[in-house]
Protein backbone atom coordinates (compact mmCIF):
# COMPACT_ATOMS: atom_id res chain seq x y z
CA UNK A 1 0.00 0.00 0.00
CA UNK A 2 1.23 3.49 -0.86
CA UNK A 3 2.16 5.88 1.92
CA UNK A 4 -0.97 7.74 2.94
CA UNK A 5 -0.99 11.52 2.58
CA UNK A 6 -2.66 11.89 5.97
CA UNK A 7 -2.16 9.15 8.49
CA UNK A 8 -3.68 9.22 11.95
CA UNK A 9 -2.30 6.57 14.26
CA UNK A 10 -3.95 5.71 17.55
CA UNK A 11 -4.68 9.25 18.71
CA UNK A 12 -6.29 10.15 22.03
CA UNK A 13 -7.88 13.55 22.63
CA UNK A 14 -9.62 14.90 25.71
CA UNK A 15 -11.34 18.10 26.78
CA UNK A 16 -10.57 19.08 30.37
CA UNK A 17 -9.73 15.48 31.19
CA UNK A 18 -12.82 14.06 29.53
CA UNK A 19 -11.89 11.54 26.84
CA UNK A 20 -13.41 12.30 23.44
CA UNK A 21 -11.19 10.55 20.90
CA UNK A 22 -9.98 7.20 22.18
CA UNK A 23 -7.38 5.42 20.12
CA UNK A 24 -8.50 6.41 16.67
CA UNK A 25 -6.61 5.47 13.50
CA UNK A 26 -7.45 6.56 9.99
CA UNK A 27 -5.69 7.20 6.69
CA UNK A 28 -6.35 9.25 3.59
CA UNK A 29 -4.36 8.62 0.44
CA UNK A 30 -3.56 11.29 -2.11
CA UNK A 31 -6.50 11.86 -4.46
CA UNK A 32 -8.92 9.98 -2.25
CA UNK A 33 -12.21 11.24 -0.87
CA UNK A 34 -12.75 9.79 2.56
CA UNK A 35 -15.89 10.30 4.57
CA UNK A 36 -16.30 10.09 8.35
CA UNK A 37 -19.83 9.61 9.61
CA UNK A 38 -21.15 9.35 13.12
CA UNK A 39 -23.83 10.64 15.45
CA UNK A 40 -23.79 14.07 17.05
CA UNK A 41 -21.11 14.22 19.70
CA UNK A 42 -19.22 11.20 18.35
CA UNK A 43 -16.07 13.30 18.07
CA UNK A 44 -15.94 14.06 14.33
CA UNK A 45 -15.14 17.75 14.74
CA UNK A 46 -12.67 16.97 17.50
CA UNK A 47 -10.88 14.60 15.15
CA UNK A 48 -10.41 17.37 12.59
CA UNK A 49 -9.40 19.87 15.27
CA UNK A 50 -6.80 17.39 16.47
CA UNK A 51 -5.30 17.24 12.98
CA UNK A 52 -5.25 21.06 12.87
CA UNK A 53 -3.36 21.39 16.14
CA UNK A 54 -6.34 23.14 17.75
CA UNK A 55 -7.01 20.25 20.12
CA UNK A 56 -3.74 18.31 19.88
CA UNK A 57 -3.77 14.62 20.83
CA UNK A 58 -2.09 13.81 24.11
CA UNK A 59 -1.18 10.41 22.74
CA UNK A 60 -0.65 9.02 19.26
CA UNK A 61 0.68 10.37 15.99
CA UNK A 62 -0.57 12.38 13.06
CA UNK A 63 1.56 12.17 9.91
CA UNK A 64 1.24 14.31 6.84
CA UNK A 65 3.24 13.25 3.77
CA UNK A 66 5.31 11.09 6.09
CA UNK A 67 6.09 13.87 8.55
CA UNK A 68 4.88 13.91 12.16
CA UNK A 69 2.72 16.98 12.73
CA UNK A 70 0.92 16.35 16.02
CA UNK A 71 3.15 18.84 17.84
CA UNK A 72 2.99 21.62 15.23
CA UNK A 73 0.99 24.82 15.59
CA UNK A 74 -2.13 25.43 13.52
CA UNK A 75 -0.23 28.01 11.50
CA UNK A 76 2.53 25.55 10.59
CA UNK A 77 -0.01 22.86 9.73
CA UNK A 78 -1.83 25.21 7.37
CA UNK A 79 1.47 26.05 5.69
CA UNK A 80 1.99 22.34 5.00
CA UNK A 81 -1.18 22.37 2.89
CA UNK A 82 -3.87 21.11 5.26
CA UNK A 83 -6.99 23.21 5.13
CA UNK A 84 -9.94 22.91 7.49
CA UNK A 85 -13.39 24.31 6.77
CA UNK A 86 -15.00 24.31 10.23
CA UNK A 87 -18.67 23.57 10.75
CA UNK A 88 -19.02 27.02 12.35
CA UNK A 89 -17.67 28.45 9.05
CA UNK A 90 -15.83 31.23 10.93
CA UNK A 91 -16.25 33.80 8.18
CA UNK A 92 -15.06 37.36 8.64
CA UNK A 93 -18.60 38.72 8.66
CA UNK A 94 -18.18 42.45 8.00
CA UNK A 95 -15.59 41.85 5.25
CA UNK A 96 -16.72 41.36 1.68
CA UNK A 97 -16.96 37.95 0.03
CA UNK A 98 -13.84 38.68 -2.00
CA UNK A 99 -11.88 39.89 1.03
CA UNK A 100 -12.82 36.65 2.79
CA UNK A 101 -11.65 34.62 -0.20
CA UNK A 102 -8.37 36.52 -0.47
CA UNK A 103 -7.69 35.94 3.23
CA UNK A 104 -7.96 32.25 2.41
CA UNK A 105 -4.87 32.72 0.26
CA UNK A 106 -2.93 34.38 3.09
CA UNK A 107 -0.11 31.83 2.94
CA UNK A 108 0.41 32.31 -0.82
CA UNK A 109 2.93 34.91 -1.96
CA UNK A 110 2.42 34.82 -5.74
CA UNK A 111 -0.29 37.34 -6.72
CA UNK A 112 -0.87 35.63 -10.06
CA UNK A 113 -1.63 32.35 -8.34
CA UNK A 114 -4.07 34.11 -6.04
CA UNK A 115 -5.95 35.57 -9.03
CA UNK A 116 -6.06 32.14 -10.68
CA UNK A 117 -7.46 30.58 -7.54
CA UNK A 118 -10.01 33.35 -7.23
CA UNK A 119 -11.13 32.68 -10.82
CA UNK A 120 -11.38 28.98 -10.03
CA UNK A 121 -13.53 29.62 -6.94
CA UNK A 122 -15.79 31.97 -8.91
CA UNK A 123 -16.15 29.37 -11.67
CA UNK A 124 -17.11 26.83 -9.02
CA UNK A 125 -19.54 29.25 -7.31
CA UNK A 126 -20.73 31.85 -9.86
CA UNK A 127 -23.09 33.23 -7.23
CA UNK A 128 -20.14 34.39 -5.16
CA UNK A 129 -18.85 36.46 -8.05
CA UNK A 130 -22.19 38.26 -8.22
CA UNK A 131 -21.95 38.98 -4.53
CA UNK A 132 -18.24 39.60 -4.31
CA UNK A 133 -18.56 43.09 -2.81
CA UNK A 134 -21.23 42.16 -0.27
CA UNK A 135 -20.33 41.65 3.40
CA UNK A 136 -20.14 37.91 4.03
CA UNK A 137 -22.56 38.18 6.97
CA UNK A 138 -25.36 39.36 4.65
CA UNK A 139 -25.30 36.16 2.59
CA UNK A 140 -27.72 33.25 2.94
CA UNK A 141 -26.61 30.13 4.80
CA UNK A 142 -25.89 28.27 1.57
CA UNK A 143 -23.88 31.13 0.13
CA UNK A 144 -21.91 31.46 3.35
CA UNK A 145 -21.02 27.78 3.08
CA UNK A 146 -19.78 28.45 -0.46
CA UNK A 147 -17.59 31.27 0.87
CA UNK A 148 -16.23 28.96 3.57
CA UNK A 149 -15.38 26.21 1.07
CA UNK A 150 -14.09 28.72 -1.49
CA UNK A 151 -11.90 30.38 1.11
CA UNK A 152 -10.49 26.97 1.96
CA UNK A 153 -9.66 26.32 -1.69
CA UNK A 154 -7.84 29.64 -2.12
CA UNK A 155 -4.52 28.38 -0.74
CA UNK A 156 -4.20 25.35 -3.07
CA UNK A 157 -4.60 22.83 -0.26
CA UNK A 158 -3.05 19.38 -0.55
CA UNK A 159 -5.94 18.08 1.52
CA UNK A 160 -9.28 19.72 2.20
CA UNK A 161 -11.09 18.79 5.41
CA UNK A 162 -14.77 19.70 5.35
CA UNK A 163 -16.73 19.61 8.60
CA UNK A 164 -20.44 19.05 7.89
CA UNK A 165 -20.64 21.44 4.94
CA UNK A 166 -24.36 20.74 4.54
CA UNK A 167 -25.22 21.50 8.17
CA UNK A 168 -28.40 23.52 8.49
CA UNK A 169 -29.04 23.79 4.75
CA UNK A 170 -32.29 23.14 2.88
CA UNK A 171 -32.32 19.77 1.02
CA UNK A 172 -31.80 21.36 -2.40
CA UNK A 173 -28.74 23.21 -1.11
CA UNK A 174 -27.41 20.06 0.53
CA UNK A 175 -27.35 18.46 -2.92
CA UNK A 176 -25.65 21.52 -4.35
CA UNK A 177 -22.90 21.46 -1.73
CA UNK A 178 -22.32 17.73 -2.14
CA UNK A 179 -22.24 18.18 -5.92
CA UNK A 180 -19.45 20.68 -5.40
CA UNK A 181 -17.56 18.17 -3.30
CA UNK A 182 -18.02 15.64 -6.11
CA UNK A 183 -16.65 18.15 -8.62
CA UNK A 184 -13.59 18.78 -6.45
CA UNK A 185 -13.07 15.04 -6.13
CA UNK A 186 -13.16 14.72 -9.91
CA UNK A 187 -10.56 17.49 -10.14
CA UNK A 188 -8.29 15.21 -8.12
CA UNK A 189 -8.54 17.00 -4.77
CA UNK A 190 -7.83 14.95 -1.66
CA UNK A 191 -10.81 15.35 0.66
CA UNK A 192 -11.63 14.30 4.21
CA UNK A 193 -15.35 14.86 4.60
CA UNK A 194 -17.40 14.76 7.77
CA UNK A 195 -21.12 14.50 7.12
CA UNK A 196 -24.48 13.84 8.69
CA UNK A 197 -26.11 13.13 5.35
CA UNK A 198 -24.76 9.64 5.60
CA UNK A 199 -26.14 8.06 2.47
CA UNK A 200 -25.26 10.84 0.03
CA UNK A 201 -21.81 11.32 1.55
CA UNK A 202 -20.91 7.63 1.43
CA UNK A 203 -22.18 7.35 -2.12
CA UNK A 204 -19.74 9.95 -3.30
CA UNK A 205 -16.78 8.94 -1.10
CA UNK A 206 -14.18 6.34 -2.04
CA UNK A 207 -14.05 5.05 1.50
CA UNK A 208 -15.78 5.69 4.75
CA UNK A 209 -15.28 5.37 8.50
CA UNK A 210 -17.98 5.09 11.12
CA UNK A 211 -17.13 6.94 14.31
CA UNK A 212 -18.83 6.17 17.61
CA UNK A 213 -17.86 7.75 20.95
CA UNK A 214 -14.36 8.48 19.75
CA UNK A 215 -13.62 5.10 18.18
CA UNK A 216 -13.79 3.74 14.65
CA UNK A 217 -16.57 1.12 14.63
CA UNK A 218 -16.42 0.19 10.97
CA UNK A 219 -14.61 1.09 7.82
CA UNK A 220 -14.83 0.18 4.17
CA UNK A 221 -15.83 1.43 0.77
CA UNK A 222 -18.95 3.55 0.73
CA UNK A 223 -20.94 0.76 -0.89
CA UNK A 224 -19.77 -1.82 1.64
CA UNK A 225 -20.77 0.36 4.57
CA UNK A 226 -24.15 1.22 3.10
CA UNK A 227 -24.82 -2.49 2.61
CA UNK A 228 -23.65 -3.70 6.03
CA UNK A 229 -26.29 -4.74 8.58
CA UNK A 230 -24.74 -2.94 11.51
CA UNK A 231 -24.58 0.27 9.55
CA UNK A 232 -28.09 0.07 8.16
CA UNK A 233 -29.48 -0.42 11.67
CA UNK A 234 -27.50 2.39 13.24
CA UNK A 235 -27.84 5.05 10.57
CA UNK A 236 -30.54 4.25 8.12
CA UNK A 237 -33.03 2.83 10.62
CA UNK A 238 -33.50 -0.38 8.64
Amino acid sequence: MAIALLEIEDIWVRYAGMPVIQGLSLAVEGGETVCVVGANGAGKSTLLRAVMGKQPPYKGKVRFAGREIQRLSTEEIVHLGIVYVPEEKMLFGPLSVEENLRLGAYILKDPQRIEQNLDFVYSLFPRLQERRRQPASTLSGGEQQMVAIGRGLMSNPRILMLDEPSLGLAPILVDEVLDTVRKLKEEGMTILLVEQNVREALELADRGYVLQTGRIMAEGSGQELLASDMFRKAFLGM
Binding site: M52, K54, E75, V78, P86, F92, L95, Y106
Partner: protein, 304 residues
Amino acid sequence: MDILISSIVAGLLIGMILALVSLGLTIIFGVMDIVNFAHGEFLMLGMYTTLFTAQATGIDPLLTLPLAALVGFALGVACYYGFIRFLLRGPMVAQLLGTFGLMLLLRNLALLLFGSEDRALHHGLLVGKSFELGMGVIIPATKLAAAGLSIVTFAAVWLLMNRTRIGKALTATSLNAQGARYMGIPTSRMNALAWGIGGGSVTLAGGLLVNFWSVNPFVGLLFTMIAFTIVALGGFGSVPGAFFAALVVGLITEIPGFWDFVTYTFDIGWMSDVPMTSFKYTWVYLAYFVIMVVRPRGLFGWKH
Protein backbone atom coordinates in the same frame (compact mmCIF):
# COMPACT_ATOMS: atom_id res chain seq x y z
CA MET B 1 -21.01 84.53 17.68
CA ASP B 2 -17.22 84.30 17.69
CA ILE B 3 -17.39 82.37 20.97
CA LEU B 4 -19.59 79.82 19.24
CA ILE B 5 -17.30 79.45 16.22
CA SER B 6 -14.20 79.37 18.42
CA SER B 7 -15.73 76.65 20.54
CA ILE B 8 -16.72 74.55 17.54
CA VAL B 9 -13.30 74.91 15.92
CA ALA B 10 -11.47 74.22 19.18
CA GLY B 11 -13.72 71.21 19.84
CA LEU B 12 -13.15 69.72 16.41
CA LEU B 13 -9.39 70.29 16.58
CA ILE B 14 -9.03 68.66 19.97
CA GLY B 15 -11.38 65.94 18.72
CA MET B 16 -9.01 65.10 15.88
CA ILE B 17 -6.15 64.76 18.35
CA LEU B 18 -8.33 62.66 20.66
CA ALA B 19 -9.07 60.40 17.69
CA LEU B 20 -5.38 59.52 17.51
CA VAL B 21 -5.26 59.23 21.31
CA SER B 22 -7.99 56.59 21.30
CA LEU B 23 -7.05 54.74 18.10
CA GLY B 24 -4.72 52.31 19.86
CA LEU B 25 -7.24 51.50 22.57
CA THR B 26 -9.87 50.47 20.06
CA ILE B 27 -7.41 48.47 17.92
CA ILE B 28 -6.07 46.52 20.89
CA PHE B 29 -9.57 45.85 22.15
CA GLY B 30 -10.70 44.87 18.68
CA VAL B 31 -7.92 42.39 18.09
CA MET B 32 -7.81 40.63 21.46
CA ASP B 33 -10.70 41.88 23.59
CA ILE B 34 -8.33 43.42 26.10
CA VAL B 35 -9.01 46.77 27.72
CA ASN B 36 -5.68 48.49 28.18
CA PHE B 37 -5.87 50.55 31.36
CA ALA B 38 -2.27 51.65 30.79
CA HIS B 39 -3.23 53.42 27.57
CA GLY B 40 -2.88 56.90 29.07
CA GLU B 41 0.50 55.97 30.52
CA PHE B 42 1.75 55.22 27.01
CA LEU B 43 0.60 58.70 26.07
CA MET B 44 2.47 60.15 29.05
CA LEU B 45 5.65 58.38 27.98
CA GLY B 46 5.23 59.81 24.48
CA MET B 47 4.94 63.28 25.99
CA TYR B 48 8.12 62.80 28.03
CA THR B 49 9.96 61.32 25.05
CA THR B 50 9.28 64.37 22.90
CA LEU B 51 9.85 66.81 25.73
CA PHE B 52 13.19 65.41 26.84
CA THR B 53 14.49 64.78 23.33
CA ALA B 54 13.60 68.28 22.21
CA GLN B 55 15.13 69.82 25.32
CA ALA B 56 18.28 67.72 25.23
CA THR B 57 19.04 68.06 21.53
CA GLY B 58 17.52 71.46 20.85
CA ILE B 59 15.75 70.17 17.74
CA ASP B 60 12.14 71.06 17.12
CA PRO B 61 9.65 68.93 19.07
CA LEU B 62 7.84 68.08 15.84
CA LEU B 63 10.98 66.36 14.56
CA THR B 64 11.07 64.08 17.60
CA LEU B 65 7.70 62.55 16.73
CA PRO B 66 9.11 59.53 14.86
CA LEU B 67 11.14 58.72 17.95
CA ALA B 68 8.06 59.04 20.19
CA ALA B 69 6.17 56.67 17.87
CA LEU B 70 9.07 54.23 17.81
CA VAL B 71 9.31 54.18 21.62
CA GLY B 72 5.58 53.45 21.86
CA PHE B 73 5.75 50.75 19.19
CA ALA B 74 8.67 49.01 20.89
CA LEU B 75 7.09 49.34 24.33
CA GLY B 76 3.79 47.99 23.02
CA VAL B 77 5.41 44.96 21.40
CA ALA B 78 7.54 44.35 24.52
CA CYS B 79 4.47 44.56 26.77
CA TYR B 80 2.70 42.02 24.59
CA TYR B 81 5.48 39.45 24.47
CA GLY B 82 6.65 40.00 28.03
CA PHE B 83 3.33 40.25 29.79
CA ILE B 84 0.00 40.43 27.95
CA ARG B 85 0.59 37.15 26.10
CA PHE B 86 0.45 35.32 29.42
CA LEU B 87 -2.64 37.18 30.59
CA LEU B 88 -4.57 36.03 27.53
CA ARG B 89 -4.62 32.50 28.94
CA GLY B 90 -6.25 33.70 32.14
CA PRO B 91 -9.82 34.82 32.81
CA MET B 92 -11.10 38.28 31.84
CA VAL B 93 -10.53 39.55 35.38
CA ALA B 94 -6.84 38.70 35.19
CA GLN B 95 -6.59 40.76 32.01
CA LEU B 96 -8.31 43.76 33.58
CA LEU B 97 -6.17 43.63 36.71
CA GLY B 98 -3.10 42.94 34.61
CA THR B 99 -3.28 46.07 32.48
CA PHE B 100 -4.31 47.98 35.61
CA GLY B 101 -1.05 46.83 37.17
CA LEU B 102 0.82 47.89 34.04
CA MET B 103 -0.70 51.35 34.46
CA LEU B 104 0.50 51.61 38.06
CA LEU B 105 3.93 50.32 37.12
CA LEU B 106 4.47 52.79 34.27
CA ARG B 107 3.08 55.69 36.27
CA ASN B 108 5.29 55.02 39.27
CA LEU B 109 8.32 54.43 37.09
CA ALA B 110 7.75 57.87 35.60
CA LEU B 111 7.34 59.33 39.08
CA LEU B 112 10.61 57.76 40.15
CA LEU B 113 12.55 58.81 37.07
CA PHE B 114 11.05 62.20 36.25
CA GLY B 115 9.58 63.48 39.54
CA SER B 116 6.05 64.70 40.08
CA GLU B 117 6.45 68.27 38.79
CA ASP B 118 4.67 69.62 35.73
CA ARG B 119 6.92 70.07 32.74
CA ALA B 120 6.11 72.01 29.61
CA LEU B 121 7.75 72.75 26.28
CA HIS B 122 8.76 76.37 25.93
CA HIS B 123 10.56 76.16 22.62
CA GLY B 124 9.57 74.94 19.24
CA LEU B 125 8.72 76.09 15.78
CA LEU B 126 5.06 76.47 16.59
CA VAL B 127 5.00 76.95 20.36
CA GLY B 128 3.32 80.22 21.26
CA LYS B 129 2.33 81.07 17.67
CA SER B 130 -1.23 81.27 16.45
CA PHE B 131 -3.36 81.88 13.37
CA GLU B 132 -6.21 84.25 13.10
CA LEU B 133 -9.05 82.58 11.24
CA GLY B 134 -11.12 85.73 10.89
CA MET B 135 -14.21 86.72 12.90
CA GLY B 136 -12.02 86.85 15.98
CA VAL B 137 -11.29 83.11 15.94
CA ILE B 138 -7.71 82.42 16.93
CA ILE B 139 -6.13 78.99 16.70
CA PRO B 140 -2.83 78.15 18.35
CA ALA B 141 -0.44 76.85 15.68
CA THR B 142 0.52 73.86 17.82
CA LYS B 143 -3.08 72.68 18.01
CA LEU B 144 -3.61 73.10 14.31
CA ALA B 145 -0.45 71.16 13.48
CA ALA B 146 -1.27 68.50 16.05
CA ALA B 147 -4.77 68.09 14.65
CA GLY B 148 -3.45 67.88 11.09
CA LEU B 149 -0.77 65.34 11.91
CA SER B 150 -3.27 63.33 13.96
CA ILE B 151 -5.58 63.03 10.98
CA VAL B 152 -2.71 62.05 8.70
CA THR B 153 -1.53 59.37 11.15
CA PHE B 154 -5.04 58.12 11.77
CA ALA B 155 -5.64 57.85 8.01
CA ALA B 156 -2.32 56.08 7.52
CA VAL B 157 -3.18 53.45 10.14
CA TRP B 158 -6.64 53.04 8.64
CA LEU B 159 -5.11 52.49 5.19
CA LEU B 160 -2.60 50.04 6.65
CA MET B 161 -5.43 48.05 8.19
CA ASN B 162 -7.70 48.08 5.15
CA ARG B 163 -5.43 48.09 2.14
CA THR B 164 -2.44 45.93 3.00
CA ARG B 165 -2.07 42.18 3.37
CA ILE B 166 -0.82 42.43 6.93
CA GLY B 167 -3.56 44.89 7.82
CA LYS B 168 -6.21 42.56 6.42
CA ALA B 169 -4.72 39.76 8.50
CA LEU B 170 -4.92 42.01 11.56
CA THR B 171 -8.56 42.80 10.79
CA ALA B 172 -9.30 39.10 10.28
CA THR B 173 -7.70 38.31 13.64
CA SER B 174 -9.87 40.90 15.32
CA LEU B 175 -13.03 39.53 13.67
CA ASN B 176 -12.39 35.84 14.32
CA ALA B 177 -9.02 34.83 15.74
CA GLN B 178 -9.58 31.08 15.39
CA GLY B 179 -10.82 31.52 11.83
CA ALA B 180 -7.70 33.57 11.10
CA ARG B 181 -5.50 30.81 12.54
CA TYR B 182 -7.14 28.32 10.18
CA MET B 183 -6.03 30.59 7.31
CA GLY B 184 -2.43 30.27 8.51
CA ILE B 185 -2.36 33.79 9.92
CA PRO B 186 0.11 34.06 12.83
CA THR B 187 -2.37 35.51 15.31
CA SER B 188 0.13 35.94 18.13
CA ARG B 189 2.28 38.13 15.88
CA MET B 190 -0.87 40.02 14.90
CA ASN B 191 -1.58 40.65 18.59
CA ALA B 192 1.96 41.98 19.00
CA LEU B 193 1.45 44.18 15.95
CA ALA B 194 -1.78 45.52 17.43
CA TRP B 195 0.11 46.44 20.61
CA GLY B 196 2.86 48.02 18.51
CA ILE B 197 0.44 50.12 16.47
CA GLY B 198 -1.64 50.85 19.57
CA GLY B 199 1.41 51.95 21.57
CA GLY B 200 3.06 53.84 18.72
CA SER B 201 -0.02 55.82 17.73
CA VAL B 202 -0.76 56.95 21.28
CA THR B 203 2.84 57.94 22.09
CA LEU B 204 2.83 59.90 18.84
CA ALA B 205 -0.34 61.62 20.03
CA GLY B 206 1.51 62.35 23.29
CA GLY B 207 4.36 63.92 21.34
CA LEU B 208 1.83 66.18 19.62
CA LEU B 209 -0.04 67.05 22.83
CA VAL B 210 3.07 68.07 24.74
CA ASN B 211 3.43 71.02 22.37
CA PHE B 212 0.60 72.70 24.25
CA TRP B 213 -0.10 70.51 27.29
CA SER B 214 2.19 70.14 30.27
CA VAL B 215 3.16 66.66 31.39
CA ASN B 216 3.46 64.97 34.77
CA PRO B 217 3.33 61.28 35.73
CA PHE B 218 -0.44 61.48 36.37
CA VAL B 219 -1.48 63.03 33.07
CA GLY B 220 -2.44 59.61 31.68
CA LEU B 221 -5.59 59.08 33.75
CA LEU B 222 -7.53 61.92 32.14
CA PHE B 223 -6.70 60.67 28.66
CA THR B 224 -7.43 57.05 29.51
CA MET B 225 -10.89 58.13 30.65
CA ILE B 226 -11.45 60.25 27.56
CA ALA B 227 -10.26 57.41 25.32
CA PHE B 228 -12.63 54.99 27.10
CA THR B 229 -15.50 57.37 26.43
CA ILE B 230 -14.58 57.66 22.78
CA VAL B 231 -14.16 53.93 22.26
CA ALA B 232 -17.42 53.22 24.07
CA LEU B 233 -19.23 55.81 21.98
CA GLY B 234 -17.68 54.68 18.72
CA GLY B 235 -18.20 50.98 19.40
CA PHE B 236 -15.49 48.86 21.04
CA GLY B 237 -13.11 47.74 18.32
CA SER B 238 -14.32 50.10 15.61
CA VAL B 239 -11.71 52.36 14.00
CA PRO B 240 -14.01 54.63 11.97
CA GLY B 241 -16.32 54.76 15.00
CA ALA B 242 -13.48 56.05 17.16
CA PHE B 243 -12.84 58.87 14.72
CA PHE B 244 -16.38 60.23 14.71
CA ALA B 245 -16.82 59.64 18.42
CA ALA B 246 -13.63 61.61 19.08
CA LEU B 247 -15.04 64.61 17.22
CA VAL B 248 -18.20 64.36 19.32
CA VAL B 249 -16.19 64.14 22.54
CA GLY B 250 -14.01 67.05 21.40
CA LEU B 251 -17.16 69.12 21.07
CA ILE B 252 -18.37 67.90 24.47
CA THR B 253 -15.19 69.25 26.09
CA GLU B 254 -16.18 72.64 24.66
CA ILE B 255 -19.52 72.70 26.46
CA PRO B 256 -18.29 75.56 28.69
CA GLY B 257 -17.70 77.63 25.52
CA PHE B 258 -21.21 76.87 24.28
CA TRP B 259 -22.52 77.74 27.76
CA ASP B 260 -20.79 81.12 27.59
CA PHE B 261 -22.20 81.67 24.14
CA VAL B 262 -25.74 81.12 25.39
CA THR B 263 -25.08 83.17 28.52
CA TYR B 264 -23.91 86.25 26.64
CA THR B 265 -26.08 85.99 23.58
CA PHE B 266 -29.28 85.77 25.56
CA ASP B 267 -27.92 87.67 28.53
CA ILE B 268 -29.03 85.10 31.10
CA GLY B 269 -27.72 86.31 34.42
CA TRP B 270 -27.75 83.15 36.52
CA MET B 271 -25.86 81.18 33.85
CA SER B 272 -22.81 83.41 34.18
CA ASP B 273 -22.60 82.49 37.88
CA VAL B 274 -22.02 78.80 37.14
CA PRO B 275 -18.28 77.98 37.06
CA MET B 276 -18.64 75.86 33.91
CA THR B 277 -14.96 75.54 33.00
CA SER B 278 -14.36 73.60 36.22
CA PHE B 279 -16.73 70.93 34.89
CA LYS B 280 -15.07 70.60 31.51
CA TYR B 281 -14.38 66.86 31.75
CA THR B 282 -17.37 66.05 33.93
CA TRP B 283 -19.42 66.19 30.74
CA VAL B 284 -17.17 63.64 29.10
CA TYR B 285 -17.57 61.24 32.02
CA LEU B 286 -21.29 61.87 32.09
CA ALA B 287 -21.44 61.05 28.40
CA TYR B 288 -19.56 57.81 29.14
CA PHE B 289 -22.16 56.73 31.69
CA VAL B 290 -25.06 57.65 29.46
CA ILE B 291 -23.55 55.66 26.56
CA MET B 292 -22.89 52.61 28.71
CA VAL B 293 -26.48 52.61 29.97
CA VAL B 294 -28.32 53.58 26.80
CA ARG B 295 -26.23 52.05 24.03
CA PRO B 296 -23.43 49.84 25.33
CA ARG B 297 -22.49 48.74 21.81
CA GLY B 298 -21.63 52.29 20.85
CA LEU B 299 -22.97 54.33 17.99
CA PHE B 300 -21.12 52.49 15.25
CA GLY B 301 -20.50 49.09 16.84
CA TRP B 302 -19.50 46.52 14.23
CA LYS B 303 -17.76 43.88 16.31
CA HIS B 304 -20.06 41.18 17.76
